[in-house]
Symmetry: C2
Subunit: 252 residues, 2 copies
């Protein structure tokens, strides 16, 4: 049984559920896999705010509570569709907390799954770009995971990160979290980010915030490959419970 800690954010959770269905080989209702989902964003502080020292409660605790509840309901494997929640200071709380309960669900690590995916499917790529929230950016989640494997990692310059990329997700008027769908301005900001990373040498770009695929749903943008960690997590969750139901990988 697949468990999803949704709500971080709610539309990203929905997007993960949608990707689980899309990546499952099924011809009728009954062929689809059992999926339990909790979307309870209220008690989970914003991950970037916490990492920047502007929230005191570590979001790992409420996420742990929800992951444990999924386990008690029967989930055997759990995914958390939020890149920023994988910052070690947050994710370690979830990991160590789950390890202490009896028969814990297996917790997947979206960043590690993405890195594995890049190693398998993008081995010829030298430079990988990353678009993300400022929390993921500051904690260097992707550079620290990818550089030891020989990938060169390209991220936006600080001013672009603060003024263009983070607001694409967080702006209260046009941001993906507030609107729950792609707005022209959010998409335009992200396209500027892609061009910025392409100019800096990126051959593929990780959409390192689970809201970004709402605005960039394709597998590429003007020839630049887009890597979607939520899609990779969806596939990893299926692989854990029913690998025979996993749709064959299609790069585009």
């Amino acid at each position: 049984v697949i468990g999803v800690v949704g709500g971080v954010g709610p539309f990203a959770g929905l997007d993960l559920l949608s990707k689980i269905l899309d990546q499952t080989l099924a011809g009728r209702d009954q062929d689809h896999l059992p999926v339990l989902s909790i979307s309870r964003p209220g008690p989970i502080p914003d991950r970037t705010e916490f990492l920047l020292g502007r929230a005191t409660v570590n979001p790992g605790y409420p996420i742990l509570e929800q992951a444990a509840l999924l386990g008690r309901m029967g989930a055997t494997v759990v995914g958390v569709p939020c890149n920023t929640a994988h910052a070690p200071v947050i994710f370690s709380i979830i990991e160590t907390g789950l390890a202490r309960i009896e028969q814990p669900p297996r917790l997947l690590h979206m960043i590690r799954e993405t890195v594995d995916h890049l190693r398998r499917h993008y081995a010829s790529v030298g430079s990988v770009g990353v678009l993300s929230t400022t929390g993921t950016y500051r904690t260097r989640l992707y550079p620290e995971a990818l550089e030891p494997l020989g990938f060169r990692v390209v991220v936006p310059e600080a001013t672009m990160q603060e003024a263009i990329i983070h607001p694409a997700v967080y702006d209260p008027v046009y941001g993906l979290k507030a609107c729950g769908r792609a707005t022209p301005r959010a998409r335009d900001n992200l396209l500027r980010g892609l061009e910025h990373l392409r100019a800096a040498g990126a051959e593929a770009v990780i959409l390192g915030c689970t809201e970004m695929p709402l605005a960039l749903p394709g597998r590429e943008e003007e020839g630049l490959a887009l890597v979607d960690p939520a899609l990779i997590l969806a596939r990893a969750l299926i692989r854990e419970v029913a690998p025979e139901r996993l749709r064959p990988w299609e790069a585009r």
Copy 2:
């Protein structure tokens, strides 16, 4: 806390979750309501197959089990986004079963919510059409609920129902359940159904199967109002837990 028995079918469950988010007034992650969802279609027999005598297990039992689990996890109100599951022989199992557990979640009735909605927002409409699965069609769920209120109810002729409408949902090649999205043929079948009902006098049409809005996502089609019970259920679920967060109703 909202509970959703998804999986009947899985894409309809996802669509309901999406409508709950869309109908909630929220500017950031934390404003969204707590939603628990179970999509475990495996043990739930097809509702129409059961109503036609081709499945022996009443789908009400596994649905009851999942609704009760949602209650134990903390759901205070539960919705089942499947019209056919509201056939009395199925739904009564869920209702009476939940009534026997301690502190049961409140179970909403999608058909009754839809009828209330029609009474409030479509009072000037005399004739209402219904497109549905053959299970909902044969059990006359909507005619029996609407006719006592003075609505005239129009349904497709039997041959169109069997050859065009039911297959739009169930066909293994082009049907909405098998494909999880609108296919041109499923949409075309439903458009033929709409024209058939319009010709028979319908002024508004209930999309009486929760997969149908995947192919007909708008509020109207060539001037014919479309009534979506899943949207109405989403709003009813929000109303039960946080009426102040319910987006004002927009007819189109």
